[in-house]
Amino acid sequence: MSESQETTASPDQTLYEKLGGEAAVNAAVDIFYRKVLGDYRINRFFDNSDMEKQAAKQKAFLTMAFGGPNNYNGQDMRNAHARLVKMGLNASHFDAVMEHLGATLTELNVPAELIGQAAAIAESTRNDVLGK
């Protein structure tokens, strides 16, 4: 482990560092959440919720997808989404969220290769989210 003063991209940078760390998550969260709330296919899963708490959860999700520090726990993810699965949450809804993740990063001019890496991390939660 070493603390590098370098700010330019180096081969040892993590995905999170390449994406711009916490500042990048902050830039992404409003854009992403706005897309999700504006999507008639999935916004019923976000209704009746405290918007502020929801935004904090979106931020946790994006931090994880960006490869940032997280305590990802599959069981917690299952428990948190069990209510939504009962409401009919399925693969098509997960796909829609993945779409918005990609579109958000594209809007922020993130290179395609890094978008692919973030999408792969998000994708790895699919079974837990859908309770499979």
Binding site: Y33, L37, K57, K59
Partner: protein
């Protein structure tokens, strides 16, 4: 080694331990979730020393100012006395010095306190009468070294507390006040930012305080206030607001009536519909929403979808206490 005091107990924070870890190790019940400073489940507040800035990342600026922090990422740099968000601090006594009817439904009550009391205009306090009956009301004035607090109290159908205030409370009576709470208030800085204030009924109380605060602190950006009510009995301070709008070039006021108010000079419609359809985008705006819970929730969402950042939306829903008759 730093110490953490909560309630009657004081615990030592081990080196490298977070406040959350210390409290959980000592079997203090603290809600928590992600343990990485994101989900905000472990939100708490320091009553004395400021928490490290790193433990306040992501919190609303008004909460940061009030020394709220996330226990799971707080490695204390000083001793701290902490409370959970719903725990009450000290209460104070205040006497009624003025009572004034503003409309058949809304009454203005001014209290004077003797003990030091910190607040921001727009925050709320719990008012408690002698028999213990308690309700929350928003503060409509800014702190000005005169030790007074102003409230606008709407009479609710079957409202035990509001009916008592309207019909029986007299100058000279004493009330008990909680400390000021809530994050819906003005903060200086970003003086050029446009402000959108939307309120229904006595939701004008916190907005009136927020407006006074912004003007007193020389806010230079445009300030738009939309005040609405179903009928004329919920509209008040109309002349005062019009005078302020005439005095301050950057202040714009619109009164709205959603029900029948023919022959009045108010805009017809719901305040938040009129306000939010009046502009293309709220990108970069600071938005304050006070009053009816449904209006607040709808407007919050509409304002966010119109481009306001979540961090820039401040809201205070007036939930009605269910009365047991």
């Amino acid at each position: 080694m730093r110490s953490i005091t909560i309630g009657e107990s004081t615990f030592s924070c081990q080196p490298d331990e977070t406040v959350l870890e210390t409290l959980l190790r000592e079997n203090v019940q603290v809600p928590n979730g992600c343990r990485q400073g994101l989900c905000q489940a472990c939100l708490m507040r320091s009553l004395d020393n400021s928490p490290p800035a790193s433990a306040q990342v992501g919190l609303k600026d008004t909460l940061q100012k009030q020394k709220y922090f996330l226990a799971c990422v707080c490695r204390p740099e000083q001793n701290m006395t902490v409370v959970l968000p719903n725990q009450q601090g000290a209460s104070i006594e205040a006497g009624v010095i003025k009572k004034q009817r503003l409309t058949p439904d809304i009454i203005r009550v001014v209290l004077e306190y003797q003990t030091p009391f910190n607040f921001f205009a727009g925050q709320f306090v719990n008012l408690k009468r002698a028999d213990g009956l308690t309700r929350s009301y928003s503060i409509a004035n800014i702190p000005q070294n005169d030790n007074i607090l102003e409230f606008h109290i709407r009479r609710l159908p079957n409202g035990q507390f509001s009916s008592w205030v309207h019909d029986e409370l007299e100058p000279g009576a004493q009330l008990t006040l909680s400390e000021a709470q809530g994050s819906c208030h003005y903060l200086s800085g970003r003086a050029e930012q446009p402000l959108m204030l939307i309120g229904t009924g006595s939701g004008l109380a916190p907005l009136y305080g927020i407006l006074a605060d912004a003007l007193a602190q020389d806010h230079s950006g445009p300030i738009h206030l939309y005040h609405g009510s179903r009928d004329l009995n919920g509209l008040y301070f109309v002349e005062e607001m019009r005078e302020l709008a005439a005095e301050f070039d950057n202040f714009h006021y619109t009164s709205c009536v959603s029900g029948d108010a023919s022959e009045s000079d108010h805009v017809k419609g719901r305040a938040h519909d009129i306000a939010l359809s009046s502009i293309e985008t709220l990108k970069g705006w600071r938005v304050f929403l006070c009053g009816h819970p449904e209006m607040v929730n709808q407007s919050k969402r509409m304002a966010f979808m119109k481009g306001a950042s979540m961090a820039d939306i401040y809201a205070d829903s007036f939930h009605v206490m269910q009365e047991n008759k």
